[in-house]
Amino acid sequence: MGEMAGAFGVFHVPGFTAWPEEAPADQVAALTSAFDQARSRIEALHPDALVIISPEHWTNFFLDNMPAFCVGLASDYKGPIEEWLRVDRKQVAGHPELAQAILEDAMDAGIEPAFAHELLLDHGTIVPLHFLTPSMDVPVVPIILNCLQPPMPRASRCYAFGRSIGRTVRRRPERVVVVASGGLSHSPGAREHGQINQEWDRRVLELVRTGNGKELARYTEAEIAQGGTAGAELRAWVAMLGAVGAAPAEILAYEPVPVFATGCAIAAMRLEE
């Protein structure tokens, strides 16, 4: 039997690869160190695949067809689409068998994600992969959530989808690491750009740390919105927490970085407990 070998929640601020020199060196060092720790742990786990849950950024979907959830079924993906990200464009292998199983099991559980046989990867996927698996040699299953345009899937449904993902991972033969990418509080491009709600971030991280994903799954749209116009990306973390259940976490870093306009966090779920 396979297992959920590991799970992490990470930020994906594009500035971290595109303009890190503009951020305070001590904050960049803390976040880099946390990514390094996560990378080392993933390397030691020897995963067969990464399931990476990230928000849509108008990369793959527009208002003509916006899925709540989309599972990538492709055998490979290319990215980043952002020419300015300062990450070389790469081709990353997919894992169609695991992806298909995630999709089928979700449908059996009464959740109907969309699916895509081709997806472009943007900073939401590439920034985490750049730091967690720099060679990008671990096959990925990208799962994209609508965190852009209301109405968005409710936190409770993201948690439920995550639970289904977790069940699939545990019954399959592969060793899988699940990564949530996004957040925390930020409002990119909005007039509120730069406002970081540290209180909201720290409350979220305390719930993550103490294994209280179910509490986050009860967040209302209003509570999520306190994380900024893009606080909606919390959904990726909620889905990951659904996959891992009540496991606590080690918060490897939290840095509210003004030039990134984001509360940046990295958490490693303690699945052994």
Binding site: W58, F62, I81, E83, L120, R191
Partner: protein
């Protein structure tokens, strides 16, 4: 539904280098196939980020459009905030 088409142009622009090249070369021609009201067309041609923001275009679409057309984020933010301040 021109707001939709204005957003759709920006969606195409941000994900496709050919659209970006077309806009850089002949912006009016790049917009020709989209159903735009004159204010939207004008705002896209003049890169009036504040006007586009107030129309309701998603800020991510705008911020990336600004970056690709040579307006870094601080200047983009200044533009959308200055325009708001001018109205009040």
């Amino acid at each position: 539904m021109s707001q939709y088409d204005a957003a759709k142009f920006l969606y195409h622009f941000n994900r496709d280098a050919r659209v970006r090249a077309s806009y850089a070369l002949k912006p009016a021609r790049a917009l020709a196939s989209y159903t735009l009201a004159e204010p939207e067309r004008d705002a896209l041609l003049r890169r009036d980020f504040c006007a586009l923001y107030d129309i309701g275009i998603h800020p991510l679409l705008l911020m990336f459009f600004a970056r690709y057309t040579g307006t870094p984020t601080p200047a983009y933010l200044e533009a959308i905030r200055a325009g708001q301040a001018a109205k009040h």
